[in-house]
């Protein structure tokens, strides 16, 4: 039995995410465990970045992976990779929770501290996932600080463009313009290197 389980584990290691997610749709807990092991770190990192606390990030990630287990059949390959799908659930649920919390811990202080957190500061691992993260971080480094701040306030802290304009004391048009330029600059980073945008 133990050998059989070990063989099964090896089998899951070699399967693509898309295969695993369809097995999860067929209620295969081992396939789910393999997906969890591949993506829980990225999900938790994003959850922590949004929620700002380990415990709430844990609760969020648990909720997200249970949704993945229960709704695996709703994944559509045409709309992005499995990882993008999982992270989008983390993002949406996290922002929903932030917005629903009366005492949102989205102060200027936290925002200013978060700008530092987003700077690359470590030697990166060799896996392709980390390599993609490297590329994205490099792309973000090309953004002027004022564009990066606005993207982060919107994406990680759940502020609307109207709220950002009040928070930063900027005209709404300027906020929209910086959002547009920031996203365009990220795209340009990949286009100029002839590298496909990670999905």
């Amino acid at each position: 039995m133990i050998e059989m389980m070990a063989d099964n584990s090896k089998k899951y290691l070699t399967l693509a995410d898309e295969d695993l997610i369809s097995m999860v749709g067929g209620e295969d807990p081992d396939a789910f465990a393999a997906l969890y092991d591949r993506h829980s770190r990225a999900a938790f990192s994003l959850g922590y970045r949004i929620m700002g606390q380990r415990q709430t990030a844990e609760d969020l990630v648990q909720e997200v992976f249970l949704k993945v287990w229960r709704s695996a059949n709703s994944y559509r390959a045409g709309r992005g990779s499995v990882r993008t799908w999982i992270l989008s659930i983390v993002h949406h649920r996290g922002i929903d929770q932030l917005r629903a919390t009366a005492s949102r811990q989205r102060t200027k202080d936290r925002f200013e501290a978060s700008a530092e957190k987003s700077q690359p500061s470590e030697a990166f691992a060799e896996t392709w996932r980390n390599s993609q993260r490297d590329q994205v971080r490099e792309a973000l480094k090309t953004l002027p600080e004022e564009q990066l701040k606005i993207l982060e306030l919107a994406y990680f802290s759940g502020y609307t463009h109207v709220e950002i304009s009040k928070l930063m004391n900027l005209p709404l048009g300027t906020v929209k313009g910086r959002m547009r330029l920031g996203l365009k600059k990220m795209r340009d980073y990949f286009d100029s290197r002839d590298v496909a945008v990670p999905r």
Binding site: A139, A154, T160, V162
Partner: protein
């Protein structure tokens, strides 16, 4: 719809991709998208760039207890749904099929069909065997998770509290179950797994049923059958506000309310 048009769409599409539109504008934007499906790919393209932000945060290692708790819930749901599927397809349907075939076809054809059904039954048997093996595997996993949590609890030096807030409660055994050994492991405040071993055997038409008891009475919280080794079962009701967890013997399929005295119980 307000004054949403192509110009406004262009003005708002980046904020939409970042999830940064206020509710009213978000609603108008989506209504516009529905009316102009040709604009969908443009938005998806921008959203794919915005989504890259999701992989940029500094790496944070999730705690091991998170995996244990997620897998415990997933394994329990998987085991429950397998059990439900098995109960939904009783062997009597095969007998009914045979009866219908006998009525509908001449003897020779019915013989051939019956042979095919025998082959089918054999395959079904193999399938069930494989399912039993899978359930055994899941049970072992639950056991491992509980052992790990128990080790965590012991490691803190507390009698029954783990570093992650888990609690292990020994259950009092009565009557025929007096030689049994059972515990409730509560984790994350209100979720729990019941582990029992050396439980008395039961006839096929009976089952053990778990109850979570609070001010409102006894809530049915899961069924289990005795096994050769320890059996782990997720307690389906929340323990929040509960006073007692108990186990009774009930007719197969369970009862809405307990019909016998508790064999196992733990005060919370």
């Amino acid at each position: 719809m307000t004054d949403m048009n192509r110009g406004k769409f262009d003005d708002l599409k980046d904020a939409y991709a970042l999830g940064a539109l206020p509710e009213d504008e978000h609603r108008d934007f989506e209504a516009y998208l529905q009316a102009h499906p040709e604009s969908q790919s443009e938005v998806e393209d921008i959203a794919s760039i915005a989504a890259l932000l999701a992989i940029s945060p500094a790496g944070q290692e999730p705690p091991k207890r998170l995996r244990r708790s997620v897998m415990a819930m997933v394994n329990a749901e998987s085991a429950n749904s397998r059990q439900e599927r098995r109960q939904a397809s009783p062997p009597s349907s095969w007998r009914a099929s045979l009866d219908r075939l006998r009525d509908a076809f001449p003897a020779r054809i019915a013989l051939g069909a019956a042979a095919a059904l025998v082959v089918g039954l054999l395959s079904w048997n193999v399938l069930l065997q494989s399912e039993v093996q899978t359930l055994d595997g899941q049970n072992s996993e639950l056991q491992a998770e509980i052992e790990a949590a128990r080790a965590g609890a012991d490691g803190t030096g507390g009698a029954d509290a783990g570093a992650d807030g888990s609690r292990i409660l020994a259950m009092q055994a009565e009557g025929e179950a007096s030689g049994s050994d059972a515990e409730v492991m509560a984790f994350e405040g209100d979720r729990a797994v019941l582990v029992a071993q050396n439980m008395p055997t039961l006839p096929d038409d009976q089952t053990f049923q778990i109850w979570v008891i609070d001010d409102g009475g006894a809530q049915p919280s899961g069924l289990f059958q005795p096994g050769e080794g320890p059996v782990a079962t997720v307690v389906e009701q929340s323990l929040e506000g509960a006073e007692t967890v108990a186990v009774t013997v009930e007719p197969s399929g369970g009862s809405p309310q307990p019909t016998t005295d508790p064999m196992l119980s733990a005060q919370l």
